[in-house]
Subunit: 332 residues, 2 copies
């Protein structure tokens, strides 16, 4: 059968552009033993994908030129030569950006879509949810009464971090990039305060005003000057959770900034970088908490769903403009 | 009786100068009940004192203008109105820079100078030794076979860190500022490699050459560009122990440098600032290890002892030029 795929046609220099991607039609062969033919339902676009567009060694290998992009996908089984999967099963896996694809049975996990919608497995019950959970709980280690600041607060991870911090009894301050996001985080998601960094005249001062007892945990999704402003308000014995640095991903030169070590030293601050996979052996613990909180209505969730397989590149680029609220997903 | 004291007469702007200090003669009153008259034997000069010369809130209060500097001192009891101390006892405490001083019994700890020399209690059996022990063992958590890099390697803390890391089975690379220090650290203190940062054409490359498996623990005593070079060679899951930032202490503007967060994030690196006092409840554990290793000959020790009470300011300033090898101490 003929299907479509989106490949990386050139590597970006700085901000990625639509021209870095190309959509191709191609023929899928017949499936072999233990293989499954899938039709994509939802495809995830995530900030970390920017790093994979560079030809640089990192914790995930770079995307290959001329080869399809790959990432988190929810798909439906069209045809199966595996006894573990049958037609119409809904599965998740790290799959190519293709309308149809062929996967091995070992690459797929069957998901239960009886209660949570299938797309949640790319967000709150997937990588972003687990990232929020482990970053906050295992690195941030929140204690009731502490002040938690989250940057990229309206993003896929930030929106969950803030709510989990509230469940731990913390005061939660978000940083986001529009008045709409500010209103939503406060009114719908229970954030105590939210700063619009685009309209604040002095972010450092804005943070100081809403964090009179300084910042005990900074969950950093963005990096750059916003982070400088938060860290200048950091408390003794604080924890800085390095989850994302989206403000810097498109830099073409090494970004410069104030040296943080003197402040981290004199205030006995911990800064820890992490990726989700570090906690792979504990995913079940994380998922059970997230599932329960979601079921109990203690966690709310938000997605920005873009319709149309062809919109994948534009959706990915949109992350760097902050167009999404909550998890950005493409519905094929 | 008349004695001498050294006071902070003005605050430095950038690098401290001799003129920031003044030596005064003054009259000591008679001692009251539970007070002890002491004669200073050894006085400690330490890099952290630079921070106290500024009028800035930190983890220790600033020195007051017109008041004597204070720090770690070993002293002999001249006269005692306390039943806990008698004439000729040797004590340690945080005391003023005075030839003679009056202390309360609660401010002093009696030390046993039967085996280790008294001055060791300002170094390997005092704050620098404990700093090395807790920073390396409790934050760095060395595992046999790992590569440990220590900056300021010939200083009071660095020289101990490197030896403890060797005792844990690590490969130890030091960074120091003279060929004399390099030779000593390799030949006398068992460092595997030592880089002279003053003669290396490219520190980053020098580190890469002697750390082919990258840097698992970076014990940072200096900060600045040397640290940039080490961190550019940092390994996945590495630990950066922030102990000192002597290269930046005399900065008059906020020092700028490459933003480290992207690398810390993608390599899951921990960076932790600390001060010795965080581990106060575990000092006994640390001291028992240091004492035993010293006794067994597994730890060697080095001091630079400057003679003459009046040399205190010059000795302190000398730290910022790296004139000391091992712990810098003034013998009164």
């Amino acid at each position: 059968m003929t299907t479509k795929q989106i490949v990386l046609s050139s590597r970006p220099n700085g901000k990625p552009v639509i021209e870095n991607f190309q959509t191709n039609n191609f023929d899928l062969p017949e499936i072999n033993d233990k293989e499954i033919l899938l039709k994509a339902m939802f495809l995830s676009v995530d900030p970390y994908m920017r790093g994979r567009m560079n030809d640089a060694k990192s914790y995930v290998p770079p995307f290959e030129l001329g080869k399809p992009i790959n990432g988190g996908v929810i798909a439906k089984v069209v045809k199966s030569n595996s006894t573990n999967f049958k037609e119409n099963d809904i599965v998740t896996g790290n799959l190519s950006w293709q309308q149809h694809c062929i996967a091995k049975e070992t690459d797929l996990i069957k998901i239960d879509t009886s209660t949570p919608p299938a797309s949640y497995y790319l967000g709150i019950l997937g990588m972003p949810g687990l990232t929020a959970y482990f970053g906050l709980m295992h690195i941030g280690k929140p204690k009731a009464g502490e002040t938690v600041v989250v940057s990229g607060a309206a993003g896929a991870v930030g929106i969950i971090v803030g709510q989990i911090a509230k469940l731990q009894g913390c005061r939660v301050v978000g940083i986001a990039g529009s008045d709409e996001k500010v209103k939503m985080l406060k009114e719908e998601f229970g954030f105590d305060e939210v700063i619009n960094y685009k309209t604040s005249a002095d972010i450092k001062k804005s943070i100081a005003e809403v964090c009179p007892k300084a910042v005990d945990i900074y969950f950093d999704n963005v990096g750059g000057e916003i982070s400088d402003a938060v860290i200048s308000n950091i408390n003794f014995n604080a924890r800085i959770v390095l989850c994302g640095q989206i403000a810097l991903y498109n830099s073409t030169e090494i970004p410069m900034g104030p040296r943080l070590q003197p402040m981290l030293l004199t205030r006995s601050v911990l800064m820890q970088g992490f990726i989700n996979n570090n906690y792979q052996s504990q995913f079940e613990e994380g998922l059970s908490h997230l599932t329960l909180w979601l079921k109990e209505g203690k966690l709310k969730y938000k997605e920005t769903i873009v319709k149309g397989f062809d919109k994948l590149p534009a959706a990915l680029l949109g992350l760097f403009e902050g167009v999404n609220i909550g998890k950005m997903i493409v519905e094929a």
